[in-house]
Every structure is written in C-alpha cells, then in structure tokens.
C-alpha cells in the first residue's frame, strides 16, 4: 500500500510539467488569496503592535472620570497635586512622585502623500518626562527647552507629515514653533506625536489645567493600591488605567474592523480560488485518465490513487501559499502608513507580516487545496477502468 502510494505520487508529480497551464491556476489563484489575506492582516497586526507597545504595566494614566480619551479629559492643577501624593507611586531621589502632567491637543498638519490636513497630537509634557518615559530617546537634534516655543517630532510623524524635520518652523496659533529634535520611543504610538513643554502648550491654546497625568508606579503590583486611593477620594473624579489597557482599548475597534474586512475579502477570494482548483484538478484527472486506469488495472488500490491526487493538489496550493506570503512580506512588511486612531489623532504604524500571519496564510492555502482536490481525487479513484482504457 505504502509502496503503491509512493509510486502513484511520484507518477503524478512527474507528469506535472505536462499540465503546467492548469496547475498554475491553482498556484496563482491561491497565491492571490494568501497575499491579500496576509497583507491586510499585517495592517491590523502593525496597528495593534504600535498601540500595545505604548505602555508599561507599571505606568498608570489618569483621566477625568467618564472621558474615555485624553483629548476629552480635563484635570485641574489641584487634581494633579492630589494624584501625586497618592500611595504606590515611584519617587525620585528628591522624594517627588515620578509623574508627568500632560496636555493633549491636536493640530492640523498636511500628510505628505495626500497633501490634506490630518490631526496630529501635540502633547505637552512635564519636565519629569525622562523619568516617566525612559524609553524616549532624542535621536536627532536636541530636547526642547521649557518656556520657549520648541517641540520634538516623533520619528513616525516626521516621516508621514509635512514640515517636521529638525530645524523647521511650524506656525501654530499666531506663533512660530521650532522643531528642535526628533525622538524615538520603542516604535510606540508616541512616535506619531509632537512633544513640547506642557505650560507652553497650555498658554498657547489658552488652557489652564491638564488632560491627563501619567505616573510611574513603585511596581506593577502597586496599581490597585494607587487606583483605590484615587477612586475612593471624594475630592477626585478620575479614571485610572494601566497604560497598556488604555492603549489596547484604543486599538480594539480599528484592529477588529481590519480583521473583519481582511477575513471577509479573503474568504470570498478563497471560494473563487477553490472553484479554480476544482477545475484544474478535474482537468488533471481527465488528462491522466489513461495513466490512472492503467495503474488501477495493474492492481493499484483506489486509496493510493485518491491520495496521490489530493497530495498533488496540496503541494500546488502549498507552493501558492508560500508565494503569496512571500509577496506580502516582500512588498508590504515594514511599509509605513498612518490612520486616524481611536483618539481622534493620527497613528503612524508599520505593516507587520508576523510569523503567525504567514502560518495562517499557509494553513488557508492548504485548506483551499484540500477542498479543491478532494472531489477530483474521488473521481480519479472511482474511474471505471475498462471504459477509461477503451476511451484512450
């Protein structure tokens, strides 16, 4: 039986070159499905990756209760004072809480590819920035100085939006702001933003107070103690979240939408490719009718014949899957794009073709191949031997 199987498979593969046209339909059809599936899902993966990396479990973000996003939130100076005295916070050598009070607004800056205005986050940050966000590194130019209109541009933002290179000047609300440097931040969402001194931003947009406070905890385990202290304080009405949770919530809707669209399109394409595979395998079986009948006549069982057709389909679809995944990786992995994120501001991210996505694509390819190969294989196994021999 095993010997028969090996012989039947090697035979079908040897005759494959004679059927290049029909076989290439399977390979190309499936490559198309997998390339589209992997590329679209890579968008979702990249976006999630950018937002999920935007936080540390031992960092908390505090917003006014019921605000959902920093842009809507409003904290007074008194609120921030109360927050910085709460238990559970990391304290520096001077005994001060490691906390940055931040003011978030969006500014219109044209996107390089479309030329139309996009919402870019301008984040006013406290001077404790380096302690609160040690991952933030100025890679070009220098840090902004407080009390003058200077700002840092995120590496992602500088790539996607006009006029954010070091040394350029932005005109915002009747004043010129100089871009003094460019920063990276582990590829997280802040790289899509502009950073400046919080009080300078406040005076520029005439706002007295803050949007949020970002605080480093003494340890990740201190979170509930810190949260409880704030939420039970009758003077305060705030929502306290771990940073990763806050950012994950912002990526949820879009990631879900991308996945739904990607999967729907790929399912539809897969159905089309399956019919294509059926066609190719039926014609392969028809072309090999004499050969298959001969095999059966000299004593080959139905099962090895069936399996040989299935395996041919599987190998062709596997090849298609690999080609599709490779194309997606070649063209789109690391491709930088930006979109309007959950917080009403642009998020710059890179399409990421992960190993999991490649495996998903190849699994899809094999499933299409198996479905498309099964019925033709059944026909091959049931071929009436005498008739097939006579017809030839």
């Amino acid at each position: 039986m095993f010997k028969q199987l090996v012989a039947a498979i090697s035979m079908s593969l040897q005759t494959l070159p004679q059927r290049v046209g029909a076989s290439s339909v399977i390979v190309i059809g499936i490559a198309g499905v997998v390339a589209v599936l992997v590329s679209v899902l890579a968008m979702g993966a990249g976006f999630r990756h950018t937002l999920a990396d935007g936080g540390r479990a031992d960092r908390a973000i505090i917003l006014r209760g019921g605000s959902d996003a920093e842009l809507n939130s409003n904290l007074t100076r008194a609120d921030v004072d109360t927050i910085s005295n709460a238990p559970g916070l990391a304290r520096n050598s001077a005994g001060k809480a490691v906390l940055s009070s931040e003011l978030v607004t969006v500014v219109n800056i044209p996107k390089i590819d479309t030329g139309t205005d996009a919402n870019i986050t301008l984040r006013g940050v406290g001077l404790e920035l380096a302690e609160v966000r040690p991952e933030l590194k100025v890679v070009e130019g220098r840090m902004f100085h407080p009390a003058v209109r200077e700002l840092l541009a995120g590496a992602g933002a500088a790539k996607q939006f006009r006029g954010l290179t070091v040394g350029s000047v932005l005109h915002l609300r009747n004043a010129d702001w100089t871009v003094t440097g460019m920063f990276t931040s582990n590829g997280d969402v802040h790289e899509s933003e502009l950073l400046a001194d919080v009080d300078t931003v406040g005076s520029s947009i005439e706002r007295n107070g803050y949007s949020s406070a970002v605080a480093l905890l003494a340890s990740a385990a201190e979170f509930s103690r810190f949260k409880d202290a704030l939420t039970t304080d009758p003077q305060l009405k705030v929502d306290v979240q771990r940073e990763p949770e806050y950012y994950a919530a912002q990526s949820k809707a879009l990631t879900k939408a991308i996945n739904v669209v990607g999967n729907t399109v790929a399912v539809i394409m897969a159905i089309g490719a399956m019919f294509g595979a059926l066609n190719s395998m039926y014609s392969a079986v028809a072309a090999r009718g004499l050969e298959i009948a001969t095999l059966r006549a000299i004593g080959f069982g139905a099962v090895p014949v069936l399996l040989s057709v299935m395996i041919e389909a599987l190998l062709l679809s596997l090849l298609g899957g690999v080609i599709g995944a490779a194309l997606a990786w070649l063209f789109f992995n690391g491709h930088t794009v930006s979109t309007l994120g959950g917080a009403f501001a642009q998020v710059v991210f890179q399409l990421t073709v992960t190993r999991a996505l490649i495996i998903t694509g190849i699994v899809w390819a094999c499933l299409i191949g198996l479905l498309g190969g099964f019925f033709p294989a059944l026909r091959a196994a049931r071929l009436p031997v005498a008739e097939a021999l006579r017809a030839a």
């Binding site: 198309g32 607004t105 479309t114 009747n174 005439e206 394409m269 089309g272 309007l340």
Partner: protein, 388 residues
Amino acid sequence: MKFFPLIWATLWRKKTRTIFTLLSMVVAFLLFGVLETVDYAFAHPGGGATGADKLITTNKYSITLSLPFSDTQEIRAVPGVAEVTWISWFGAYYQESKNFVFALPVDTDSYFNLHKDEFIVSDEQMLAYRNTRSGALVNSALMKKFGWKVGDKVPLHSTIWTQKKDGSLDWTFDIVGTFDAKDATQAGQQASTLLFHYDLFDEGRSFGKGSVGWFEERVTDPSQSGAISGRIDALFANSPNETKTQPAKDFALAFMKQFGDIGFVLRAILGAVFFTLLFLTGNTMMQSVRERTPELAVLKTIGFGDGKVLGLVIGESLLLCVIAAVIGLALSYAALPIIKLGLQGVELSPKALLPGIGAAVLLALIVGLPPALRAGRLNIVDALADKR
C-alpha cells in the same frame, strides 16, 4: 447575432468546467462590485449634490480648538453668505461607549434655515421642539436602534462637557420628535444624529461658554465659494483664532483621507483579484479551444473565414465574462444593505458597479485574444488530422 446559439452551445461543451469557471468569476465580480462601491463611497462622501452651497469654518490650527461665538456677526455680514449657524462637538454615547450618538447642539432658527431642504420633520413636532427647552429631535433610524419613543427621557453621556449644576457628564433630553433625511443619499450620514438646543448646551456647560466648535455657512452662489471662504478667513487673520473655511464637501473628503489611502488598499486587492482571474479564465479558454481544434477545422472547411472563427472564440470569451460579471455585480448590489451595516455614515451608490462591466469586457478581450488568434490561424489539414 445568428451565431449566438452556436457560441452558446460551445460555451457549455464541457459543463463542469464552464460552471466552475463561472462560479469562480462570479465570486471575483462580487468582490469587485463590493470593493468598488466602498471605494466610491469614500471618494464621494455625503452623496447627492445638496452640499454644493455649504461651507464649513473651523479653527485653522486644530479642529478641536474652539472659535468665539462673536465671530457669527462678522461672518453673517460677509457678502454672499446667506446664512450662518454654529455647532459644537458634544462627543456623546448612550449607556455604553460603543453606542455612539452624533448629538449636536444647534441653534434652531439658523440651523434649520441653513439645512432647510434636508430634514423631514412634521410641523407639529417642530413646534414641540421649539417649545421644549430640553427637547431633542432624533433621526428615526437612531430611535429604532435604541428602541426610543417620542416622549421618552433619554440620558446621554458626553465625554467632554460637564454640567455646571453638578459637574456631571450625563445630560438628559426629552425626545419630542423624529426626523428623516429628505435626500435618500444622506440617510446613512444622518443615521446617528440627535439635535438639541444650543442654548441649553451653552448655559448648562461648566466651561467653554461663549465658544463654538465650528460654523457652517450657506452661500447664495456656489461658484463663489472660494472667494467667500477667502473673505471669511481674512476677517480673522492674525487674530488668536484664525479660521479655515472650505466647502463642506472638501472638509468631508479631507476627513475621509485621514483614515489613510483606502482607495490604494482597495485597488491593490482588486488588482490581485483581477490578476488571478486572468489566469483562471485564460486557462479555461485555452483548454476549450485546444480541445475543439478539429471542430473549428470543420467550420473552416464548410466555409467559415479566419475572421469569423476568430470572432466566434472572442464571442465565447465575452459571453463567459459578461454572464459572470452580471451575476456577480447583481449579487454585490443585493449585498449593499449588509455592507451598510458595517459602514455607518457612508452612503453607497450602485453607480460604482458600472466599471465592473467594463472590466469584464477588458478581461474577455485579454483572455480571448490569444486562443482566438490561434483558432483564426488554424491550418485546416493539420487541424483535421488533430496535429495540435
């Protein structure tokens, strides 16, 4: 036309193959129709031509920064401006953050004058709205979504505005009436809209009093939009709150573009679909002609010219592609209501399906031409001897 039965018969010569090829193509054209429609919707936000005379004025530096209410008088005095109204972003949801409500505080007189051809509201309910300070007019689709009835008191959570009286973010409204879009192409856009009194909002909020989110203008002559926009912006140049005025349509388009180059993504997918289709259909046509070589030779023997044989094969290819396109596009038309569920606020137009037929013809020519040429050039003697 007299050859139609012949072409039809050859098309179904191998039933299974034709059916599988057709199914595969139908699926591709279904996808083509759906993606084209979505692409069209993103490229033509707002549907209809109703917005041609509307302008929108926002803060030049950020849509989230407010403008002073006092700008109203100056804008109203600009020649060519027929009406101006002011609105603020309320950022509301009902019960849970996923239940977004497009709640807008509006000034009754100027808002309904400016948008006078856009809403269907009964006179009676309009009067009730004018007379109820906490009243709200709600789109009937939104009413249905949350099971609201006229007379209900509904609490909406604003993510931005705290109330002066108790610092709460929860605002309660009395539903006094419902409205529908007059222009069907705007139904999708208005589906989550709830309108309430600007006065209630401005007096009730604990901060930001006297500021507005943006202005909307109606101009008497749409062809003057550019000049009027310039005049409005010139009024506030070099003030702390410079403005940016543009046609409402451009504003919507720019907003759509913020989501990224959706058109590029869709076209890339369509490209992949079309490319794989080319192979699939091309292969079927090639096989079909190869198998029929002796038959084609017979046709030539009984007097069919090279051109006619070529035409027959092209005709077969056209028939195959057009049947598939018509079925596929019809299916995608039938799927429009389902797509609408996922794309709230975007209006879908069946107009976008037309390029699908063009694509089918193009496809038919590309895949039909090589086998047709081959058939046309067929040498009778060789072909009859089946020397392929």
